[in-house]
């Protein structure tokens, strides 16, 4: 299955995402913020990046900009986990190069369904 980078500063959220994905057979690497995620992304390859928006050090939007600037992540699907149902965050995320967004709260089914959209 796919190799996924899960980025979220919230322990519980990250664990839940990670748990769900692992249960579905995916390979998951966790990061607590944008900086850690970027470091891990550079030294590894991922089929998908799932990132929270509001994080310390480097937020999700900044992370996407950094990742898109790397040749190896030009096409990699990057999904934002956001509670904002409307407006700015989505637009900002899109502008930065996000593939899409997943609204919190989500159940495991929905998470898996949504990531299936971007995985082969």
């Amino acid at each position: 299955m796919a190799r996924i980078l899960a980025v979220d500063d919230s322990n519980s959220m990250r664990q839940m995402v990670s748990f769900t994905l692992k249960a579905a057979g995916h390979d998951v690497v966790e990061a607590v913020d944008g900086v850690e995620a970027l470091g891990k992304a550079k030294n590894d390859t991922f089929d998908l990046v799932l990132s929270d928006v509001n994080m310390p050090n480097m937020n999700g939007i900044a992370l996407i900009r950094e990742l898109r600037a790397l040749p190896s992540y030009s096409y990699t699907p990057i999904l934002l986990l956001t509670t904002e149902s409307e407006g700015e965050i989505k637009q900002e995320g899109k502008a930065a190069g996000a593939t899409g967004w997943i609204l919190k709260p989500f159940n495991p089914d929905r998470l898996l369904k949504l990531i299936k959209k971007v995985l082969d």
Partner: protein, 744 residues
């Protein structure tokens, strides 16, 4: 997908039960007609987080139920509905119902559905009263969840959809891939795809990052437009997407060439041949040259093959069942909430430990006998810190008694309503801390006593008025630390215990033979005997006579004791005393002669220097002091403990007025010293129980100080002189032994 989310369940259940508690509290505060927006918001928030959590974790029946609850609250919040008593009742019942569900889930049982069904009906009724013009779904999150659930449910608008999709040229760079979107559509039904390659640039101008293709799709499906929208959600903003139902499409744009085209096409291969061959070749050449472009753009041939052959096997996600909730987990694994400040204290303490340890290792490096004193000091500090730490760790288990008290407003409200009584509940000392285990075990006895007070204690309103009492009865819950004990008082201003009835019953049960030599206290204490009930008819509230003895044995099991005072026509007061061996007490240090004692700060009413005119001598040797229209007895601490005080007359000392079981007593001492928090050390553990002293503590300088038990001191003074002498001997012996036991 069989996903086990149990690990999150537990946190969620606990969280939800807390939310329910707060909902209940706020509901109790709500007054019909004058609803406080803040309360409504708080209740709404609690309901909302339960709904969100349950939806996330797959408890759809809970989220469905809370949804109705939330809708009603939302109407209130929006001002479309003013909350009535019936509404509050309904909401309270829902809280109960949810609490039952969560308790069942915590215990690993299947929650019962009947109550939810009944309440759901009630909510529907209540909501149908409203005009329905308020949008219940004010938040996008909930809408989102609902949308997912409503998949494939609604009747189709037509038999399918025609979709014109012109993606943004940069679509691939956002990680989106048209092919995947088509696959998703394909899962919904029969999909026909036509690719438009008209705008494909010449091969040497091709950029693999860009997407120049457009598609027309025809999807035969029962799925809703929202489902289609969902699929295109992430690309909708920057791509041109037109979705119209097949019938509509024909009607509105009959001349639309693409649609016609699609109508004709059954197989994409035919479309490939019908398209300009040069483009077709071009795209294949491009594919040969640039594999990335093949992967990302997907040639028409590839799409044709994959889509039309209809062999896409993207596994569908089966809906997660809720069956997995039912699994037994151990009930003992409960968690406790600890305030950050307690944790911080612990961390501080660890810091101190580390410092002491490093000091010790410093000494041990080049140790000489000259350092012996230093070493001793270090070791004693180490022990001091370790003990403190031990105490602080135990403190983690301490919770304010409010956790237990907070359930009573509801009990009183419900019961008094049922019995037609009017009762106010007064809660005092809710911040008094108590060990969690003790708190849990004292809960049931307290419920029992409160129910008794409501059922038997407080009279009916008309009767009260006849007796010249206020219409509303009052039940008071109070908690405070008294010496080494936590005292919980449950009092009412009702009828009081019927002494004659108790005597009759006691005689008929053979507990006593006559009333001779039996004090009031002894008579009242009989209500704690097994099977003792003076109520003639058994109500469902109380009166089966299997209560008070259980109450007493429960309290005794905690090493506590209960007593009752009552006055007919004026009410009863039940006092539960529970030991609190591990507690930190705010203490007032005081000096008598060369000894330092500690009084719990809570028991001190006032302290002052005495004016001689206010002191009166009483025949028989006692002194009383005129204080605020009361005469209170003066007790010389030096006398009680047989020690020598510095003051020679009453006016030289300091008089501390203390509370002693609802009476005031003046303690005469030499001097007041510091106020400080002291760690209570049990005397029983280190020495043995001593009258007049509840426990001991170690002061900052390492000396032992005794914490006074006022009630005990009074008792001492009531003792005969001879007995006092032996007591003093005991006390002196204790001082010596304690020094060796407690001190380092």
């Amino acid at each position: 997908m069989d996903i086990d989310l149990e690990q999150f369940h537990r946190i969620f259940f606990e969280e939800s039960l807390e939310n329910l508690d707060s909902m209940e509290t706020h509901l109790m505060d709500l007054q019909p007609g004058s609803e406080d927006a803040e309360f409504i918001d708080d209740i709404f928030r609690s309901a909302h987080s339960i709904k969100g959590g349950s939806a996330t974790l797959g408890f759809t029946y809970i989220s469905d139920f809370t949804h109705d609850l939330e809708t009603l609250l939302d109407h209130v919040r929006m001002g479309a509905r003013s909350i009535s008593i019936a509404d509050i009742d309904l909401l309270l019942q829902s809280v109960d119902c949810l609490r039952d569900i969560f308790s069942a889930l915590v215990d690993g049982e299947e929650p019962k559905a009947e109550e939810t069904c009944r309440l759901k009906g009630l909510f529907q009724c209540a909501l149908s009263e409203d005009n329905g013009d308020v949008d219940a779904e004010s938040d996008g999150i909930a809408t989102q969840t609902d949308k997912v659930e409503s998949n494939n449910v609604e009747a189709p608008n037509g038999k399918g959809w025609i979709i014109h999709f012109s993606p943004n040229i940069d679509i691939l760079q956002s990680g989106n891939e048209p092919l995947r979107l088509f696959r998703e559509l394909d899962e919904l039904g029969e999909l026909h795809v036509k690719a438009h390659l008209d705008e494909l640039p010449q091969i040497h101008h091709c950029d693999a990052k860009e997407c120049h293709m457009k598609w027309s799709l025809r999807l035969i499906t029962d799925a809703d437009k929202e489902v289609i929208d969902d699929i295109f959600e992430w690309v909708a903003d920057d791509s041109a997407i037109e979705i119209c139902s097949i019938t509509e499409d024909k009607a509105v744009k009959p001349e639309q060439p693409d649609a016609e085209h699609i109508e004709d096409m059954r197989l994409m291969e035919s479309s490939a041949t019908s398209t300009n061959t040069s483009y077709s070749t071009q795209s294949r050449t491009k594919a040969d040259v640039n594999p990335i472009s093949l992967a990302n753009n997907g040639t028409e041939a590839e799409i044709a093959k994959t889509v039309v052959s209809n062999k896409l096997q993207t596994a569908t996600t089966p809906s997660q069942t809720q069956a997995e909730i039912i699994s037994n987990k151990s009930k003992s694994d409960v968690s406790i909430r600890v305030s950050i400040s307690k944790i911080d204290q612990l961390i501080n303490m660890v810091g101190e430990l580390v410092i002491t340890q490093s000091m010790l290792s410093q000494i041990s490096k080049d140790f000489s006998m000259a350092d012996l004193q230093k070493l001793k000091k270090g070791l004693s500090e180490l022990e001091h810190h370790t003990r403190q730490m031990q105490d602080r760790v135990m403190q983690i288990r301490m919770l304010p008694i409010n956790y237990s008290f907070s359930r009573f407003p509801r009990t009183v409200r419900d019961l008094s309503k049922r019995l037609g009584k009017k009762i106010n509940l007064l809660i005092k000392g809710e911040q008094t801390e108590l060990d969690k285990t003790v708190m849990e075990k004292i809960g049931d006895p307290m419920v029992h006593l409160v129910r008794n007070a409501i059922d038997h204690g407080i009279e009916m309103p008309d009767q009260r008025l006849k007796l010249g009492k206020p219409e509303y009865g009052t039940i008071t819950l109070n908690a405070y630390h008294l010496g080494g004990n936590v005292v919980i008082e449950i009092s009412d201003d009702g009828a009081g215990l019927n002494k004659l009835k108790i005597i009759d019953k006691a005689i008929s049960r053979g507990l006593i033979e006559s009333t001779e030599d039996v004090s009031n206290e002894q008579i009242y204490a009989m209500i704690f005997e097994p099977g003792f009930s003076t109520v003639d008819t058994i109500s469902d509230v109380s009166g089966r006579g299997v209560g008070m003895d259980v109450v007493r044995s429960n309290i005794q099991a905690l090493n506590g004791h209960i007593n009752v005072k009552s006055k007919e026509g004026e009410g009863s007061i039940f006092t539960i005393r529970l030991p609190l061996t591990l507690a930190i007490v705010d203490g007032q240090l005081l000096r008598v002669g060369g000894n330092t004692y500690i009084l719990p700060l809570v028991s001190i009413v006032e302290s002052m220097q005495v004016n001689k005119t206010m002191v009166n001598q009483v025949a028989g040797g006692g002194q009383v002091f005129h204080w605020r229209d009361e005469y209170i007895p003066i007790i010389h601490l030096s006398e009680a403990f047989g020690i020598h005080a510095d003051y020679s007359s009453v006016t030289d000392g300091i008089l501390i007025v203390v509370d002693c079981e609802h009476e005031k007593i003046g303690l005469l001492v030499d001097e007041l010293l510091d106020q400080q928090q002291v760690v209570v050390k049990s005397l029983e553990t280190n020495y043995r129980a001593v009258d007049g002293v509840s426990s001991a503590t170690i002061l900052g300088d390492g000396t032992v100080a005794l914490i006074l038990d006022i009630l005990g001191i009074v008792k001492i003074l009531h003792m005969k002189k001879a007995k006092i002498d032996t007591h003093i001997t005991n006390l002196l012996g204790m001082h010596n032994r304690l020094d060796s036991n407690l001190m380092i």
